[in-house]
């Protein structure tokens, strides 16, 4: 058996608001550092018209803690920093024995000209 792939990640608070010009804003502030078992890292490229769109998917498995339970209940209010980039949570599964929380996280690069 290999070494379990724990990697450092950070859980962030995500706050959505509207600025004085009426534009939507997103504020991301770090809540705490932790570690997760990282698996199934998948990078995807889609060429749409004149742009390349990169999308990445990754699965994190965390210990079930009170903080992670809060993230699970309000997944829209949190994001994950992994490899220096911000990942949004698409799916969360709480294990039935309440020992782990598994998240599927997604991020997309802005479109790059082909």
């Amino acid at each position: 058996m290999g070494i379990v792939r724990y990697e450092p990640v950070a859980i962030n608070n995500v706050t959505n608001g509207v600025d004085s010009f009426g534009e939507y804003t997103t504020t991301i502030t770090k809540w705490f550092d932790t570690r997760a078992v990282v698996s199934d890292v998948a990078n995807n490229l889609k060429i749409a018209d004149r742009y390349r769109e990169y999308a990445e998917l990754v699965q994190f498995r965390f210990n079930y803690t009170p903080n992670m339970s809060t993230v699970s209940v309000n997944q829209e209010d949190y994001s994950v920093t992994y490899r220096g980039k911000d990942w949004r949570i698409t799916d969360i599964r709480e294990s039935n024995d309440r020992m782990h929380i598994t998240m599927l996280c997604y991020r997309a690069e802005p479109g790059v000209p082909v």
């Binding site: 705490f32 550092d33 932790t34 210990n63």
Partner: protein, 218 residues
């Protein structure tokens, strides 16, 4: 009915306990202070900066530390005992009182008091002056220079020694702390008394790491 070949005596209590004490009580123990630090624990279980479970982990840490103290017969933090001894019936002579648990060295234990129940009715617990006894670390014994001559014949175990087993330096060995982290991880991951599948121990687990430090008990 068969006769016991060791002499027809069905009661072998005295043979099984080669030490001079008859009863031991643990009367004080530290159940607050941490041995493994939260930093060590959260690194071990990969919670790291997630502090929301710290209270639970601190409780688990104390349980782990007590389990290792009990497993090794070693004090990681001071433990106070009260030990009872029978009536030696040797007034005026020198006797040795075996100490059940003792850390290494001359400062391994601190004798808090040595007392005996006197011959009065009702009997009174009488403290013996500290100048009349000494601790022998080479044999884990308390040497009482002169047995008092007014010891109660009615009290089952008239000699009472109260002592503190001081913290052992072995507790700070990295190998012992690693065994503590392994046990803590096991208890963190297994919070039920039952499992659906049979668990298997890893090589070089808690037993293997602690075995060199476990006293041989005859």
């Amino acid at each position: 009915m068969t006769v016991d070949y060791l002499g027809g005596n069905a009661n072998l209590t005295q043979v099984r306990n080669p030490f001079s004490y008859e009863k031991i009580e643990q009367i004080s123990r530290d159940i607050q202070t941490s041995w493994l630090t939260l930093d060590e624990i959260t690194n071990q279980i990969n919670n790291w900066g997630d502090e929301s479970q710290d209270g639970y982990l601190e409780g688990l840490e104390v349980a782990v530390r007590m389990a290792i103290e009990d497993y090794l017969g070693m004090a990681i933090f001071p433990i106070q005992y009260r030990v009872y001894y029978g009536n030696f019936g040797q007034s005026g002579s020198t006797v040795s009182l075996d100490i059940p648990e003792a850390s290494a060295g001359t400062t391994g234990i601190t004798v808090n008091s040595v007392a005996y129940y006197n011959a009065s009715v009702p009997s009174v617990l009488t403290t013996i002056a500290s100048s009349t006894y000494q601790y022998d670390p080479s044999g884990n014994k308390l040497i009482l220079n002169s047995v008092p001559n007014d010891i109660s014949n009615q009290i089952s175990n008239p000699f009472v020694v109260t002592y503190t087993n001081n913290a052992s330096f072995i507790a700070q060995y990295p190998v012992v702390k690693q065994a503590g982290l392994l046990l803590l991880t096991h208890l963190y991951n297994n919070r039920s008394n039952t499992t659906e599948v049979k668990l298997k121990e890893i090589p070089y687990g808690v037993d293997a790491l602690l075995r060199p430090y476990k006293k041989l008990v005859m």
